[in-house]
Symmetry: D2
Amino acid sequence: MTAKLPVGVIGVLDKATRYLLQLLIAHPRVEVTYVGSPTAISKRLSQSFPTLAMPLKTDWPIEAIDVEAIAARCQIVFLTLPLGQAVTWVPALLEQCRVIDLSADYRFCNLNLYQQCFQIQRQDFSTAVNAVYGLPEFLGEQFSQTRLVACPGSTPTAGLLALVPLLKRGFIDPDRIIITTQRGQSPAVPLPPQWTHHPDAFEIEHISSDLSGIEILLQFIPQTVPQPFGLWVTLCADLRDPGLVTEDLITIYRTSYQAMPWVNVLPAGQPPVFDQILGTNYCHLGIEVDSRTHRILVFAALDPHLKGQAGQAIQCLNLMQGWPETEGLPRFGYA
Amino acid sequence: MTAKLPVGVIGVLDKATRYLLQLLIAHPRVEVTYVGSPTAISKRLSQSFPTLAMPLKTDWPIEAIDVEAIAARCQIVFLTLPLGQAVTWVPALLEQCRVIDLSADYRFCNLNLYQQCFQIQRQDFSTAVNAVYGLPEFLGEQFSQTRLVACPGSTPTAGLLALVPLLKRGFIDPDRIIITTQRGQSPAVPLPPQWTHHPDAFEIEHISSDLSGIEILLQFIPQTVPQPFGLWVTLCADLRDPGLVTEDLITIYRTSYQAMPWVNVLPAGQPPVFDQILGTNYCHLGIEVDSRTHRILVFAALDPHLKGQAGQAIQCLNLMQGWPETEGLPRFGYA
Amino acid sequence: MTAKLPVGVIGVLDKATRYLLQLLIAHPRVEVTYVGSPTAISKRLSQSFPTLAMPLKTDWPIEAIDVEAIAARCQIVFLTLPLGQAVTWVPALLEQCRVIDLSADYRFCNLNLYQQCFQIQRQDFSTAVNAVYGLPEFLGEQFSQTRLVACPGSTPTAGLLALVPLLKRGFIDPDRIIITTQRGQSPAVPLPPQWTHHPDAFEIEHISSDLSGIEILLQFIPQTVPQPFGLWVTLCADLRDPGLVTEDLITIYRTSYQAMPWVNVLPAGQPPVFDQILGTNYCHLGIEVDSRTHRILVFAALDPHLKGQAGQAIQCLNLMQGWPETEGLPRFGYA
Amino acid sequence: MTAKLPVGVIGVLDKATRYLLQLLIAHPRVEVTYVGSPTAISKRLSQSFPTLAMPLKTDWPIEAIDVEAIAARCQIVFLTLPLGQAVTWVPALLEQCRVIDLSADYRFCNLNLYQQCFQIQRQDFSTAVNAVYGLPEFLGEQFSQTRLVACPGSTPTAGLLALVPLLKRGFIDPDRIIITTQRGQSPAVPLPPQWTHHPDAFEIEHISSDLSGIEILLQFIPQTVPQPFGLWVTLCADLRDPGLVTEDLITIYRTSYQAMPWVNVLPAGQPPVFDQILGTNYCHLGIEVDSRTHRILVFAALDPHLKGQAGQAIQCLNLMQGWPETEGLPRFGYA
C-alpha cells in the first residue's frame, strides 16, 4: 500500500471549509496534515467544527499560516478564504507545493476583468495567467500538469455545464442566452444588489468564450428562494435550427458527457429533482426543446456545497493526482 | 344602514373555498346565505372548515346544489369548483343571479381555445362569450354591467400585471417575451407535465392580446419551489428603445397603476419581498432595466390565495356592486 | 360618530412594532398620532416599514421621545422597547397618559424577582406595583381602572391559559407540572442558554401563583424548531383524581373560557393545528387525559405575533376602553 | 481479497428501501444479488429509484419473492415491508439464510403484546421468541449468534439510548418518566391518532424492562413539526439522588457509551444540533440536570433514516458478520 498524500487546508471557519475537511478526512488516498486560518489561531478543531472532531475522536489545532511550515508538511494545499485573500498566500505557496483555490481569486486569467468585477487591485498577473479553471468536465486533462487550480463558483459550474455543449456546436444565438438561477438561502433575498453586473455573469461569459471561442452576451437573473435546498439553474436560448427536437438535444448532451462520471443527462420529460442530487457530487441536466418557440431550455441542478464547491475541489484533486475521478466523493444522499 | 348583499358559495371543500368564505364573512357589506357543494352534502361547516366555524360560534349546513333555491336566497353566487364543473351550473344560475367563477371555465371567451387547452368539450358558447375576465386593473369598468365574471388564475394575474403596460405602449418585441414563475408547493415539482403547452401560457397570450391588440408568442417556464411562500413571476423582454433606463420604466408603470389600490410599483433597486405581500391583496412590481443587454426585467409577487384567487374575487365583487375597491380586503399580513 | 382615540407607539423598528402599528392602523376606533423610537429618529416610516407605508400612501416621521409632546397628542401609549428600556419612560408617561407595555419590564409586580431574573437594577417599585398583568382572560376586568398594563410574553400566555384552570380547581399536583415549548425560529436553537432558569418559567410560576393562590414548581423545557410557524406549548401534569376522563376536563376548560372570544377549547381527539391559528388572535387548546398514566396533557397553540404579542396588546386596549374585546383583531388567517 | 457477502433486499419501493440499498451498494464488503418486492415485479430499479440507477450505470430488475431463489443467491436478507408482511416470509427464509427485518414485526418477542398493540393475529410465536432486538449499543454481542435481528423504530432507538443508562443504575423513578418526541413531517400532524396507546411507547417500555429488569410506566407524547429535519427526543425523569449534578450524569453516559462509535455524549451546555447528525449514523445525547427541580433532561437527536432505520440495519449487519461497527456508514453529512 502506498503512502497517503499529505494535504493542508487554509480557510476561515465556515461551511465550505467544514465540508472540504469532511471530504478530505473520508478520502482513502489523502491525509490531512495541516489546518490553518488567518483568524482562529490557537483554537482547536473541536471548538470550530464539532461535527468533524467527534467522529475523529481527536482534536487538531488551528494553526497560523506559515508558508515554510505548510510546504514542509503538505504536497497540496486547499484555500477556502474570502475574496481577495488567497492572493496574499498563493504566489509563495506555489513555489513549494500545488494549490487548489476555492475562491474567485484565480478564476479570471485576465486580471483586468477581475479588477473590474470586484474593485480589488492585484499585482500577481503572472500567477493568475498560469491558473487552470477547475471545471473537470472541460479542462480536466490540463490538471495533471498545473500547479494552481481555481475552482469555479457553484452557479457558473451549473451554468457552464448547461451552456458549453450548445455553444461549442454553434447551435444557439450567442446574444440571446438567458440564465435564471434559484439558490436556497435563508432568509431569501430575491435579487442581490448590483445583480445586473453580477460576478457570476462575467465568470460564465469569460469562461464559456474561452472554451468555445464564441463571445456571448448573457442575460443573467440571479434569484434566491427562502429555503436551503440546492442550486437550480435554467438556461433559455434560441435554437438556430428550428428542426431540432428534444431527443436530438438529449443525444448531443449525452455525447458530450458520456465519459463524465458526475454529470447525468436525464431522459426526456424528466427535469432534475433535488432529492436525487442533494448530498452527492452529481450535476443533473434536464433538456427540453419548446416546439412552440424553438427555444431550448436546460435545467441544471446540483448541491452547491458538493459539485458546486468542496466536492468539485476533490474531483480536481483526483484528476491532478491521476486518481479515479470518483474517488472519495459521495454518490448517494440521505436528504 | 342598508341591508347586506346576500351571496352564496358553491365549491369543493378546499383552501380556495375556505379563504373565499373567510373574506365574505369578514366583508362589512355582505351576508353569506348559502354554502353548497356537489360532494359534501349534509356535512356541516364545522366538519369541513373548523377555522371558519369557530369564530362564527355557529355551524351551517353544506347544502345540495339546487339552482332555484340558491337564486331565491342569493343575488351573487361564487363558484370554486374543479375545472369543467362550473359549466354545469352557470348557464342556469345566470338566468336568476350574477356569478363570479374562480375556475378557468369562463376565462376564454373563445371556447375553441378552451377546448384545445383542456381537452374538454363544451356547448355553452353563448354564455362564455358574455363573460368578463376578472382582472380589475384592466377590465374593472366593465364589471358593473356584466352578469358573469371569470376570475384569472394566479400566475396570469401576476404575468399580465407585469406585461400589459409594456405591450400596450409597444415598448417590447412581442415574440421575445419570457415569463418564468416560481410558486411554493410542497413537495416541489420542478416542472409540471406538458409545461410547454401550459394553460397559463395560453391564458396570458390570449388576454394580453385582447387587452393590447398585439399578438405575442410567449416563452413560459413554470417552476415550483419546495416551500409554501407565495407566487413570484419574472418577466424578461427586449426593449425596442435602447435609451430607456430603469427610472423611465418605473414612471410608466406608476402611471399605469396610479389609481389602482392593489398594485404597488416599487422604487428602483427594491425587488418585491414576500414578507410584505403574504396575507394581503397586493401585487408588488419591481422594475429593472439591464443596461448591458437592453432588456427589461419585471418581478411580480403576490399571495396566490388572495390577489391570486379569493381576494381578487372580492375585488371583482366590490367593483360589480360599485363599492370601494378595497372594501373587506386585507392590507396587512402577519407572516 | 365619536372621535377616534389618539394613540402613540414608542418602539424599536422590529416585527413587534410593525405588527402593532398594522393592527392600530386597521383598528376602527383608533388613530395613530405619534410614532417614536430611541434609535431611528428622523427616518421616515417608509424606510423602516415599507409594508406599512404602502397601504397608507403616506409617510410619517419617526420622532424623538419627548414625553410632553407625546402626552399632548396621545391618550394611550404603547411601548415595544427592548428589555429594561421601558423603565426610562413609563413613570413620566404615566403622569399624563395610560400605557400598554409589551416588554417584560412591568410583568413582575415584585421587582426583586425581576432583578433576580434579568440582573437589571430598578428604582421604580411604586410604578411596578400598580401595573396589571395584561392577560385578558384572567385579569381583564381590572383593565378599565388601571393606567399601566404589562402585556405577557407569548410563551407565558399559552402556558397560563393551559395551566390556570387546572390550578384554580386544585386538580393537579403543583410540584409535578411540566411545560415543554416549541417555537419556530430560523435557525433553530434547540435550547436557549441558561434555560433551566428561563425568565418565562419564572413568569408562569409567579403569575399562576398570583391567580390561583397556589405555589408551583415548574419544570420548563423551552425548545425551538427550524421553521417559523407559531408557538406550541405542551403542559403535562399529574391529576389528583384518577377517575377524571378527557370529556370531564374538556367541560372544565369550556366552562372556564366560555365567555372568552379568543380562546377555543377543541373537541376530544383534535389537537390544535397551526393552519387554524396563524394570522389570528386565537389561542387553541387541545385537552387529553392519558388513561394509562392518569396525567392530563394540554396542547396550546397561538400565533406568537398576535395573541402572543401585538394582538393581545390590542385586546388589552379594547378592554381598557370598554370596547368589544374582538374589535380590530383578525379572526381569520391566510397561511 | 475475500469474496463479498451476497445480500438481498425485499421491500416496498419507499425511502427506507432506497436508503438501505444506497448503503448496501456503497458498503465495501457487500454485494447486492437480489432485489424483490411484493408489488412492483417486472419494473426495473431505474423506474423506482432513479437515484440508485444513475450512479450504478446499470439497471436491475425488481423480482418476485421466491424464497428458494433468494436463499440460493443471498446469505443475508433485509426486509423493509409494511407492518404485518414480514411474517409471511421470515419463517421460511430463516431455514436457509439470516434475516434483518426493519419492520415492527419481530420487535416484541412476546407476540401477545404485538397482537394487542397492532390488532394483527400471528402464529409464528417460535420464530418471534428467537429474534434479537437490533439495538447494537445494548444487544450487539448477541448478533453474531442469531439468525434474526429485528431493527428498532427510530423513536425507540433515541428513547432507549437516552433512558437505559439511567434505568440500569436505578437513578430515576420508573413511574415518572416522560418522553416527548418531535419528528419532521410535512404536513405536520401535531399528534397521531390513539397516541396515548402508541406502539412506540410499548416498544420503549417493553425493551427497557428487558434490558434493565425494571418495569416502567412511560408518559409518551409523540409530536411532529412541519419540516423534515431529523428526530428529536426529550427524556424528563425524576432523579432519586438530589445531589447529582450535570457533570455527574455526563460522566455516567460517557462511561456507558465510551466503546460505542455511533453514540456521542455532548459536553455540558451543548444540546444536539441537527446540522451535526443529519446524513450520518450518529445519535447525539445532550445531558442536563435541572438543579431547581432535581430532574434530569436528556435530549437525543438522530437522522431517522440512518441511525433510526437503514443505517442501524447496516450497523447490525456489521456486528452479525464480525466486521468493524463503522464499516460502510456515513460519519459526515452535507445538509
